[in-house]
Amino acid sequence: MLLELRKVSKSFGAIKAVSDVDLQVGRGELVGLMGDNGAGKSTMIKLIAGNFPPSSGEIVIDDEVVHFHKPVEARGKGIEVVYQDLALCNNLTAAANLFLGRELKSSIGPIRWLNHAAMNRRAGELFGELKSETRPRDLVRQMSGGQRQAVAIARTRLTDAKIVLMDEPTAAISVRQVAEVLDLIRRLKDSGITVVLISHRMPDVFAVCERVVVMRRGRKVADKPITDSSPEEVTGLITGAIHSA
């Protein structure tokens, strides 16, 4: 197993956001994570991404128990995240955002400086691969929702990520761009990357995912192949009309 959660819980004061969740995700799998607002999806993602450690239980990556306290540590283990709010700096260019925290540099001896040309070029290549009309030198402030999404997704392609966690990647973009993002998700999977897709949009999950995991009130209520399920069943699981499957 590439990623394994064992009896993971997370409480914020009196609120138990995630309780006793077991989850296994294999290499190259494309798993959809669904649930209503406040069901604990985002908390799960943040636990795996290292934003905070679990209150109890353990997270295992490549058969190794990990204890993340910062997102950087998770990134070091090959976990990349596309955040719901995209985590972009509006005052910087697309390329600058793409390489934020891992800038390309030139150096002579100990003196190192930013290699703007290389970053713009590489960013252009990545946007090209994503078939996105995002221009590396444009400020993010001036971009459309789809272009911002492309910047956030392109970030995960900078390194050889093992797992990409996507938090509502299709929430704020146009229909045409949704198809593009879903294409990209399939392309990530084809190149052997594991993707965990969190989404509200039933059609997206059923279009690309192989397995669906449903959360309700912090608990995992279903975990089954997408072919054995249906949008109706998942809706029932999310709302609580069906207790578990």
């Binding site: 972009l88 221009r135 402030r141």
Partner: protein
Amino acid sequence: MNDTAERPNRAKPELEQEHVSIQSVLDVQEKSAYQRFIGNQSFWVTVALVAICLGMVWVEPRFATEDNFYNITRNFAFIGIMALGMTPVIITGGIDLSVGSVMGLAAIVAGSVLLAETPAWMAGWWPEAAWAHSWWMAVIAGLAAGAVVGFINGVLIAYVGLPPFVVTLGMLAAARAVGVILSGNRMLYDFIPDADTFKIIGGGQNFGFDLPFRLSNPFLIMIVLTIGLAVVLRMATWGRHIYAIGGNEHAANLTGVPVKRVKVQAYVLCSLSAALAAILSVGWSGSANNSLGATYELLAIASVVIGGANLMGGEGTAYGAFVGAALIFVIRNSLLMAGVDSNWQGIFVGAFIVLAVLLERIRGRRRE
């Protein structure tokens, strides 16, 4: 700005868009270099500066003299150096109100080291004979005092999470008080002979070289620092991170920018620049006074804001701080020469700060 006019590529109908090569789109820049230049506040401040200078040359013959140029550039160098240090702090979305007090403290610390006799409060435990220091010790001591203050500010802001306004307001009072205590509330001027070197650094010209023109050392140091800061902000990872923190601190944190460390460094740099201004000022005047730099924080912040920095963070340049400080001092000088009572200057400086923020707000609204 009118978006559709600027983006011909995006105006194409959906079907046709498939045939546009992506590479051709990627190479286009949102705004041309010319447009960005014109949309820049520091450009318009430069225009205003040149216009005021030309106007003054025309109406007031004393303005264009070499002596007056020498004096203006030296006087604004002290504020300019502080404004340069303030720039990264403001870009991160912070503010440092303590720089004026840091100036007073650094002046007293450097001045105490230069004293011919042991400072009164130290006499009991530091023997008279051992109080023999060099000019460079005074420089290091002054800078160290600034660095310590900046470090305390930075840790309280970045690690403890207190608002920059509150922390540095507290430091404004505290640092000034420490300066007054250390000096025994007296002016320090009875310096060792070695202090002459110290005085030349702040009061001399052309770095001691024989040149056809005359520029004060503080002004030349400010020029070097302006270029240095401009290069760091544009070319160094540190500069990129400063802008990122100001743009979206949360995002910077998530992408692995060492936000807390960078913030502490920004506040240390800011206080260091105030200490440097103090050391140059002490050298120039030949004495150290604990009231040095009072209300200078206002001028330093005003310079940065007038130069186009955004107090909400994310924007600001080294050149902006330079030209903002220049504009303030040329206006002050012009008002003096025009015979306006110097007590009125505050009104103009205050009005310019509000005007600069207002301009920024209007430009920001147009962008949305």
